[in-house]
Amino acid sequence: MDISFSDEEVAFRDQVRDFFKQAPVAEVTALIAQPDTYKEGTVRWQKHLFAQGWIAPTWPIEHGGAGWTPTQMHIFETERVAASAPDVLPFGLKMVGPVIYTYGTEQQKQRFLPRILASDDWWCQGYSEPGAGSDLASLKTRAELDGDHYVVNGSKTWTTGAHHADWIFCLVRTSTEGRPQQGISFLLIDMTSPGVTVRPIPTINGEHSLNEVFFDNVRVPVENRIGDENKGWTYAKSLLAHERTVIARVADSKRRLEKLRQYALKETEGGQVMAQDPVFRSRFSDIEAELMALEYTGLRVLAAQASGQGPGAESSLLKIKGTEVQQAIHELTIDLAGPYGGIINDSLTSGDIGHEFGDQARKDYMYGRATTIYGGSNEIQKNITAKHVLGL
């Protein structure tokens, strides 16, 4: 029972802190905030981390990672959030990259991993389909073998960033025999292939990040399949547990709660700051206690990982509680914005209209409804926990 850092870890923390102090955080954050320059800002930031050797710190060293321990990763995340620096995109670095270095061929590793690390390729994730959401294994996008190519037909949905992407990693059906999970393969598909169409899905926050992706007789070389045919579910599953821990976003919620606290010290009603409002205080401290606990739940999972246990079923707990906290913060923030919680502010400054955070609060609230739905809805997470943790 000890949470203190070793001398090496303290030195590491200082190094990370110093790095973020020198990094062009404000510049890239401004670029990322605008839809037109979003991709440019993201790539620039990721290349900056790449130059430092910290773009994929938990990857094994032989594949270009830094081989950090879970504790080092925790330190890095804490410092990143303290510096308000952007996170990296997970699709290449946290999702398909580990699948490729774990299950891919030597040739696949050499072809894809360096370009993922350098952010030369933008990846997106092709899992969900219009008819396969929480019941992911029921997916229908077909891949039929024709010589040394698969011919892919079908569609994927909720594909974040497909309109920017160079590559998509897909779960496709290569067999209809046996259980649904047994006929799935894992394919890497070039987004410039003939027959790939991307259609935007505007979301309720008024922005565009999601898409539908259609495949119409798209020819994919067999060498782009990861591992064995019909074993894709196994490779995909290892990634899902990881995705859930990423989604918890504990460090990010800490920063948002602190921001909310600052806002509450400025917003007034009847000449009194909202931080003194008894109902606000009760809602705030409720979130705060849950987040304080969640931070340690995350550390407990990390400590278990450090002693060799992978993120298992506890990752569901992190996902559920993490997203509940995020939504609670979104709700309290938009309520704190009061009458300004409904504004749409495309180009005006806060000086013009008299409010600083209402517009962002609205976007966060609306898009934040997705957090309890994506990555396996929270209800699915409860099913997983009931079955695999409680044995019901």
Partner: protein, 377 residues
């Protein structure tokens, strides 16, 4: 960074679990709790033999010198077994106050028999009007010659009926709510001028209202400096709150476990009710409530002595109160009609949880304390 138990802690945990498994069934507990003092003196003697009474007492006081994690391990196991004992009033409160406040001679004369299981203690701090305000003290200790004269009444003194000695918080100066001017005295609970009215709490333990009528005390009965008792109270209450939260977590986990077992065995509509999704999700909620509480308990243990200590402790007592209520209610609901029978252990665990919530500030109280740190007025 790790959350493993030390070798000694693992041994303590194993020995406590073994005691409960082999000697402390629910039937034994039910018999013990009905005894006139609300606990069994023989069980207490076993505690002494196993060394448990010395765990939080300093080495200088003749104890084991355990830290917050040691106490946590012991209390969590005692919670799982729903062990009826005066551990909190005698050891955590009385023992610790004497340990940190008493002059050497007095300290040893009290702690030696306490650790040997031969002395029962209690801490008389609360009054009828105090609720959760530890400084709301009207009981007066008036200077008279070399000593003092005590007058006033204390309420809800845990173990007040069985205690041989009491630590009494009394005002030597200041006004009713002042933290300054509170002094602590060790007194003989059976002295003339001490009047007790004992009653039971819903968890079976015996508490008492204790009235002091012109009770003479000498200045060598004083713990710490005159008028400076509040700082000792705060310190001891903080470690006691942590211990109570560990006990509560043990209870919450036990309730979650027995609820799962019950729903697996109970059949309705031709199937175990644990196969119904609506019940599964409720049991996952119970499990998450326990895990989040455990995380805060670890956080509080790790933060003792740091700037995060008070904030963690308030968050912990708040969450234990709130989640404990939820877990208790769900455990009864999922047991159906059986859940409200006295025969089943469920209700008895729930009642202990409810009493713990009322000790040293309930969920609402600590939520406000937490807000006072984050959003100071």
């Amino acid at each position: 960074m790790h959350f493993n138990l030390s070798e000694e802690q693992a041994m303590l945990q194993a020995s406590t679990a073994r005691f409960i498994d082999q000697q402390y069934s629910f039937e034994v507990r039910e018999k013990d709790v009905r005894l006139p003092e609300g606990f069994n003196r023989d069980t207490w003697a076993t505690f002494a033999e196993l060394g448990w009474l010395s765990v939080p007492i300093s080495e200088a006081g003749g104890g084991f010198g355990g830290n917050a994690a040691d106490t946590m391990v012991l209390m969590e196991e005692l919670g799982k077994g729903l062990v009826a004992s005066p551990y909190i009033p005698t050891v955590m409160l009385f023992g610790s106050l004497v340990d940190i406040g008493a002059p050497e001679a007095l300290k040893h004369s009290l702690l030696e028999p306490l650790i040997a299981g031969q002395l029962q203690g209690a801490f008389a701090y609360q009054e009828r009007q105090s609720r959760y305000n530890l400084a709301d003290i009207k009981t007066a200790a008036t200077r008279e010659g070399e000593g003092y004269v005590l007058n006033g009444e204390k309420a809800l003194v845990m173990n007040g009926a069985a205690a041989d000695r009491l630590v009494v918080a009394a005002r030597t100066s200041g006004e009713q709510f002042d933290t300054a001017g509170i002094s602590l005295f060790v007194i003989d609970a059976n002295a003339t001028g001490v009047h007790k009215t004992a009653y039971r709490l819903m968890d079976g333990q015996l508490a008492a209202n204790i009235r002091f009528e012109n009770l003479s005390v000498t200045s060598d009965q004083l713990l710490g400096d005159e008028g400076d008792g509040y700082s000792l109270i705060e310190k001891v209450v903080n470690s006691t709150v942590l211990a109570l939260c560990a006990e509560a977590l043990g209870i919450m986990n036990k309730l979650t476990d027995i609820t799962q077992e019950y729903t697996k065995a109970r059949k309705q509509f031709g199937a175990p009710i644990s196969s119904f999704q609506v019940l599964q999700h409720r049991m996952v909620d119970m499990f998450m409530a326990c895990e989040q509480s455990r995380s805060l308990l670890y956080r509080t243990v790790c933060s003792v002595g740091t700037s995060d200590a008070d904030r963690s402790l308030h968050a912990l007592k708040y969450m234990i109160g709130r989640n404990g209520r939820m877990v208790g209610n769900e455990a009864i609901q999922l047991h159906g009609g059986m859940g409200i029978t006295d025969e089943l252990e469920v209700g008895h665990y729930v009642k202990r949880l409810m009493v713990i919530n009322t000790l040293f500030g309930d969920a609402d109280h600590h939520q406000q304390k937490l807000a006072q740190i984050s959003l100071p007025t």
